[in-house]
Every structure is written in structure tokens, then in C-alpha cells.
């Protein structure tokens, strides 16, 4: 057995049966071993896409996603994918080939300092120096990737190590004295948290990406206490959207209700989130009257941006049930009355005087699918519309690049999600700009006949940038125009062998959306939507949560400040 075979065997022992990757010279021995391996390999057409697919595979299934790339350009192509996974705490193990050990550091052909380059964008990384280390390193990589706060781990394997004779053992001990995540929350902190929540008159719970693994606990806690629940972009689905207790998304493009609740609450129970600046806006104006209880498995997130009055370090699956046990249903009727009033006053609304607008396309997709699909998104206006109008009711089902905001994520993510959730339909909500950043993955979608509906909200512009230029740069539209040189996406998809349609009006959209969703094979829908649509509400960068611009969300009869808080 050589190092490459040992590597695959070690992966198998971690339960890996699927890998996304792209071969090349320095990883040839691994690909040779793959030829006889039970592990299935999905050939992506760009290594970045492989990393995104592996990332989405984890997000959609909870099983560590694995990707392979060759040395040099193959490995540097992974960087954006690793950074995306790192920012959104996604468990990925990336394996890269490298030039032979003796050539490392000599500027050999296709050599890059992958270990150095990927350090800052991974939870941890390894450069294997000894073939016998392979099983231990693989075991550690999976342990690190999937436990504590998940994240990507890269293993760089020089070619000579892949070729070397392996005589080691697969019975390995993980040896990580510096890595012991705190899972069980401190009893005193849990008690303090309960006291604070009991004393609150206007509490809200904010659930982030950490909630994806603890949706049952989130639901049980919310049900028992009756607390209003806000889910961040990463937390969508951790609490079912559309429930009475759900207030939607907070922050820059959050719902009016969620943002008003944050401004007026007297307690925030943060659960598995990191108070990102897109959520908080200007920190000094964020929940100015609130006691902050912050539960997170990563102690470095606590009091990083928002000061926590009651920090609880631990896994939500441990802490929330114990916290719930200490609490009775909360007596917060007056607060709920207030929240219901906001909800009633600010329903989602949009213009209907155009042939087709983004929001109604997304609503059509939601209605036709019953919300019961996996959604992936690209990055831009369409992403924000999807987050508000197409939030899923189940966890692990809304897959989007939140922290890094990576255009080009959505299509390969749909590939990863489709492999993770075999018989489910995946809807990729895409923009005409973003989708071109990894458009080559149409080949992968076609090859595996994945049940993916690619819905391009084709506004002919880099819409989100256009929106900022319209609002904050005096309509000086600089380099955002795509329409004059966009491909005919339907024809393009057709060239890849994918069924596709250009859609210009709402009648056709109504007809084709349900059909596409029922196909259970690849379909691309290219919706020509109104170019100048803007995402509202919006909190301008650097402004406070209470300084929302309402735009078309403006209610007809009420002042922008909303009603007095009575609670």
C-alpha cells in the first residue's frame, strides 16, 4: 500500500464515500488509487467549485465535505472556497497534492506555499512530512473540522509521500492537547442566564448558524418559553420560518419587525451567532437597552463586538435544554402585542406595475415548492430577497455565503447540496452576475443529472452594487451594467444539455415554475426582472438598526418611526 492508498483508506474510515475534486500532476497517485476505491469522485470543473460543493455538502447534511485539488494553481483555486467555509463555520477537509518534499521551497513547477497561504483561511492545516502520519492526520483533520466550532482543515500531501510505501497502522490516537472545545455550559452561567431571562419584559432570542445543528433544541426552548425568535441569515431554518414566533431576519436587510424588536427589547438571548456587523449595524445603537445573554461554543466570539452580560460557553444542544428547564413560560403578552402590531404594519410588499420583479419570482418558487426544498443562493440582491421571501422551514436547507459573501458560491453549492440530499429538489437562486463566476459547473449538474432548478434573477446588472451607487453615489453607475454582454443563459444551458427557458412575464413564470420544480432533473430558468429594484428595508452601512430606510416597505399610514412602544 502506498501513501495515496493509505489516504483513501483513512478517508473511508472516516465514513467518506464522496469527494469533489479536480486532478493534476501532483495529486496523480491519489487519483490513481481512486480508480480502485469505493469512494465516489465528482469531477468539478474548477477547484473553487469543489470547495464550495464540499462546504454545501456539509451544510446540507452535517457530514464533513471533502475536496481534492492538485498543487499550485489547483490549491490556490481552493482559497476562496476555504475562506467561505471558514467564515460560515463549515466542516470541510481539503486534500491537496504538492510537489515532492525535496522540491518544496525551490519554486518547482506548480509549487505554491499552500501551507502558508491557507493558514489564515482554515481552522487548521497540515503539511504531511512522513507517510506513516497519514492516518493520524486524517483522523485529526476530521475531528477538528467537525467538532467545536466547525471549520475547514487542509491537508497538503507532497507527491513523494503519496508514492511512499505505507507500513503504518490505521489504529491511531488523536493527539491534540491544545484543542478541547467546551461543550457543556457552566451551571452557574446557565442559572444566571435563566435569571436574566425571567426578569426580562421584552426578550428576544437571536439564532445564528450554530442553530443549524440544534434546531430541535431551539424549537423546544422557544415553544416552552414563548420567546420571539429572530433568525440571522446563517440561522434560517434553525427555527421554522412562518411560525407565529418567528420574526425573520435582523440587520442590514432584515425585517422591520426583527429590527424594531432588537431596538426595543430589554434582553437578547444570542444563540450560536457572532453578532456580525451586517446584523448589528452601528454597535452603539444595537439593542441599547438590552441585557445580552450570549451562548456560543467559541469563547472568542463572546464579547468580541457586542458585550455579553451573561456569557455561556457551550454547545446549544447542551445549554438550551438546561436553560429551558429552569424557565416557565414567559409572561410577555404586552411585548407580543407590540410585535404583532409591527408585523401587521410591515408586511413584505413590492411593486406590481412591472412585467416581472425579483420578489414575485422568489415567492412563486416558494409557493410552488411549498418551501420544502433545499435553497442555495449566490450573492447580491437576489440573495437578500431569497432570505426574506424564501426562508426554509427546515434546518440545513438554506445555504448561502453569509460571512464572506462569495459570488460564485450558489451554483456549486447546489451541486454539493444535491449530493447531500439525494431525493430532494434544490433551488439555486442566482443573479446574472454571480452565476457566471462558476458557470462551468453546469457541466457537473448535467453530468449527474442533478435535480437542481437554477433560477437566475436576471436584472442585467450587478444589482446590489447598483443599489449602493444609486443611493450613496448619486446614481453614478460605475461598471455594473451586464445586460449588453450577458450570454443568452437559456442557450448557454442548452449547450450544456440542460433544459432551459427565458422568461419575460409573470404568466409564463407562473406556468413554468411548478413544472420545473417537478422535473427532478436540471432546469435553468432565466427570469428577466426589473433592473432598478432595490432591497428594502435597508440600514445604510455604519448606521444603527433603528435607522432603517424603508423604501417600498413604507406602510401607507404610519410614520417611519412606527408606533410608540407600549410594553
Amino acid at each position: 500500500m502506498n501513501g495515496a492508498e493509505a489516504l483513501l483508506k483513512a478517508l473511508e474510515r472516516q465514513g467518506v464515500d464522496l469527494v469533489f475534486g479536480h486532478p493534476g500532476g501532483a495529486i496523480l497517485p491519489v487519483y490513481d488509487a481512486l480508480y480502485d476505491s469505493p469512494i465516489k469522485h465528482v469531477l468539478v470543473r474548477h477547484e473553487q467549485a469543489g470547495a464550495h460543493a464540499a462546504d454545501a455538502y456539509y451544510r446540507a447534511s452535517g457530514r464533513v465535505g471533502v475536496c481534492f485539488a492538485t498543487s499550485g494553481p489547483g490549491a490556490t483555486n481552493l482559497v476562496t472556497g476555504l475562506a467561505t467555509a471558514q467564515m460560515d463555520s463549515s466542516a470541510v477537509v481539503a486534500v491537496t497534492g504538492n510537489v515532492a518534499s525535496s522540491l518544496i521551497g525551490t519554486d518547482a513547477f506548480q509549487e505554491a506555499d499552500v501551507y502558508g497561504i491557507t493558514g489564515p483561511v482554515t481552522k487548521h492545516n497540515y503539511l504531511i512530512k512522513n507517510v506513516e502520519d497519514i492516518p493520524r492526520v486524517v483522523a485529526e483533520a476530521f475531528h477538528i473540522a467537525a467538532t467545536g466550532r466547525p471549520g475547514p482543515v487542509l491537508i497538503d500531501v507532497p507527491k513523494d509521500i503519496q508514492q511512499a510505501e505505507f507500513r503504518g497502522s490505521f489504529e491511531v490516537e488523536i493527539d491534540l492537547p491544545g484543542y478541547r472545545p467546551t461543550v457543556v455550559g457552566h451551571a452557574r452561567q446557565v442559572r444566571k442566564a435563566a435569571e436574566a431571562i425571567r426578569a426580562a419584559e421584552r426578550p428576544v432570542m437571536m439564532v445564528g448558524g450554530g442553530g443549524q445543528v440544534a434546531s430541535e433544541e431551539v424549537l423546544a426552548f422557544a415553544r416552552k418559553t414563548g420567546i420571539p425568535v429572530i433568525t440571522t441569515l446563517m440561522g434560517i431554518g434553525a427555527f421554522p420560518a412562518g411560525e407565529r414566533q418567528a420574526l425573520g431576519m435582523p440587520g442590514m436587510h432584515g425585517t422591520v419587525t426583527a429590527n424594531r424588536a432588537i431596538t426595543h427589547c430589554d434582553l437578547i438571548l444570542g444563540a450560536g451567532l457572532r453578532f456580525d456587523d451586517r446584523v448589528t449595524g452601528k454597535i452603539s445603537r444595537f439593542a441599547p437597552n438590552a441585557t445580552v445573554v450570549h451562548i456560543d461554543i467559541d469563547p472568542a466570539e463572546i464579547s468580541k463586538l457586542v458585550k455579553a452580560h451573561v456569557p455561556v460557553v457551550g454547545d446549544l444542544r447542551d445549554v438550551l435544554p438546561r436553560l429551558g428547564e429552569e424557565l416557565e413560560p414567559l409572561a410577555i403578552d404586552a411585548w407580543w402585542e407590540q410585535i404583532e402590531a409591527w408585523k401587521g404594519m410591515y408586511p413584505e410588499r413590492y411593486k406590481k406595475d412591472k412585467p416581472l420583479v425579483s420578489q414575485e419570482v422568489i415567492q412563486l418558487l416558494r409557493e410552488a415548492s411549498g418551501g420544502d426544498v433545499v435553497v442555495t443562493t449566490e450573492v447580491g440582491q437576489h440573495q437578500m430577497f431569497a432570505a426574506r421571501l424564501f426562508p426554509t422551514t427546515r434546518p440545513r436547507s438554506f445555504i448561502t455565503s453569509g460571512g464572506l459573501g462569495t459570488m460564485g458560491f450558489g451554483l456549486p453549492a447546489a451541486v454539493g447540496a444535491a449530493f447531500a440530499r439525494h431525493d430532494e429538489t434544490v433551488v439555486c437562486v442566482a443573479g446574472d452576475g454571480s452565476v457566471q463566476m462558476n458557470i462551468q459547473e453546469l457541466a457537473t449538474v448535467y453530468k449527474h443529472q442533478l435535480p437542481i432548478v437554477i433560477a437566475i434573477l436576471n436584472n442585467g446588472v450587478l444589482g446590489m452594487v447598483r443599489q449602493w451607487q444609486e443611493m450613496f453615489s448619486a446614481e453614478r453607475y460605475s461598471e455594473i451594467y451586464l445586460a449588453d454582454s450577458n450570454p443568452d443563459f437559456a442557450k448557454l444551458a442548452e449547450a450544456y444539455g440542460i433544459e432551459s427557458y427565458n422568461i419575460f412575464d409573470r404568466e409564463t413564470a407562473r406556468e413554468l415554475v411548478p413544472q420545473a420544480l417537478a422535473r427532478k432533473k436540471p432546469v435553468l430558468l432565466n427570469f428577466f426582472v426589473y433592473e432598478a429594484e432595490k432591497v428594502f428595508p435597508m440600514i445604510p452601512a455604519g448606521a444603527g438598526v433603528d435607522e432603517m430606510m424603508l423604501g417600498d416597505q413604507e406602510p401607507d399610514e404610519v410614520t417611519a418611526d412606527g408606533p410608540e412602544v407600549t410594553a
Binding site: G119, N125, L127, D175, P177, G178, A300
Partner: protein
């Protein structure tokens, strides 16, 4: 906000790349590394490093937590919080311009308990250990005679007394 100086001990596994990770964490948060010393601890495979850094006080706790998060970092201690002793070693080459100067230099060196480690016709090399204040005072004294060159190890620090805040159980047993 002002930049404050901190002496931090970071106990790390002896793995390639760990210092780079620590250094880049400091850099990302705007901390400047004034000195750094690294050497084996009492436990094989584990090194103690002492960083003297300056940076915003407000971000120090964040940096500490981020350091602690690195997989190969075992322990982080901020010696400004704990009662600690710290020492530094310096080699300093002083010009000897006259026989009188030689006598005077040697006299001062004696007061500082500096050891002569090399003697040449026109220069003396001293080895000085002590805390930072002592180093600086000795340097000041030698300036008038002419410092040819000097090198300092940077500070190393350990908590005082019986505290075992930095103690390390054996690596293998901790992993179990």
C-alpha cells in the same frame, strides 16, 4: 485608546507554522511584536514562547482568545495580569579607549553583576541578565564609553511562587 505593552507567554506544540500563525494573529489586530523568545519547555515536544507586544488594551483579550483557539497553542498567559518574574539576557560589546576607561567600565560592570565574556585590546564583551530596567540602565552607563554592538534575547517570563499556571501534564495523557 492607547497602546499598552504586554508580556505574554504562549505555550505551543513544537510544530512548523505555529509561530507564523501567532505572529499573524498579532499583526491582524495591530499588535507590534517587540521581542520574541522561543525554546523547549520541560516537556518534550512543547515550547514556551514569550512575546512582548504593544497594542490596544481593548483588543488584547480578543487576541488572547484567538491565540487560545489555535490548535497548536496549549496555553496563553498575560503576565501583566499575573504576578510574574521576567528576565532577559544581553551581550554588549563596549569600546575601550584608554586604560582609565577600562577600569571604570569594569567597575560599573561589577556593580551590575555583568560578566565579562570576551576581552580584546579595544573592546570588552559583557553578559548581563536581569529585568528590562537593569538592561536599560546598563546600556545608558555604557553609552559614554561607546557601544560597538549589542544583542538582547528578549524577555522570558514565568509566574511567581508555587503557581503552576503554566504547568503541563504530559501530552499523551492530556489527549486521552
Amino acid at each position: 485608546m492607547s497602546a499598552v505593552r504586554h508580556v505574554m507567554s504562549v505555550t505551543v506544540r513544537d510544530r512548523p507554522g505555529v509561530l507564523v500563525r501567532i505572529a499573524s494573529l498579532f499583526a491582524r489586530r495591530g499588535f507590534n511584536i517587540e521581542s520574541l523568545s522561543v525554546a523547549q519547555s520541560e516537556e518534550p515536544g512543547i515550547s514556551r514562547t514569550t512575546f512582548v507586544v504593544t497594542g490596544e488594551d481593548a483588543t488584547l483579550e480578543q487576541v488572547q482568545k484567538q491565540l487560545q483557539k489555535l490548535i497548536d497553542v496549549i496555553k496563553v498567559i498575560d503576565h501583566s495580569q499575573a504576578k510574574s518574574i521576567d528576565r532577559e539576557l544581553m551581550l554588549i560589546k563596549v569600546a575601550v579607549q584608554s586604560p582609565e576607561a577600562r577600569v571604570e567600565i569594569r567597575q560599573i560592570a561589577q556593580d551590575f553583576r555583568a560578566r565579562i565574556v570576551d576581552v580584546a585590546r579595544h573592546a570588552l564583551v559583557f553578559e548581563v541578565t536581569g529585568d528590562e530596567g537593569k538592561m536599560n540602565a546598563f546600556i545608558e552607563q555604557m553609552r559614554d564609553f561607546g557601544i560597538i554592538e549589542l544583542i538582547r534575547t528578549g524577555r522570558v517570563a514565568l509566574p511567581r511562587g508555587e503557581s503552576d499556571a503554566q504547568r503541563l501534564p504530559s501530552v499523551r495523557s492530556r489527549a486521552a
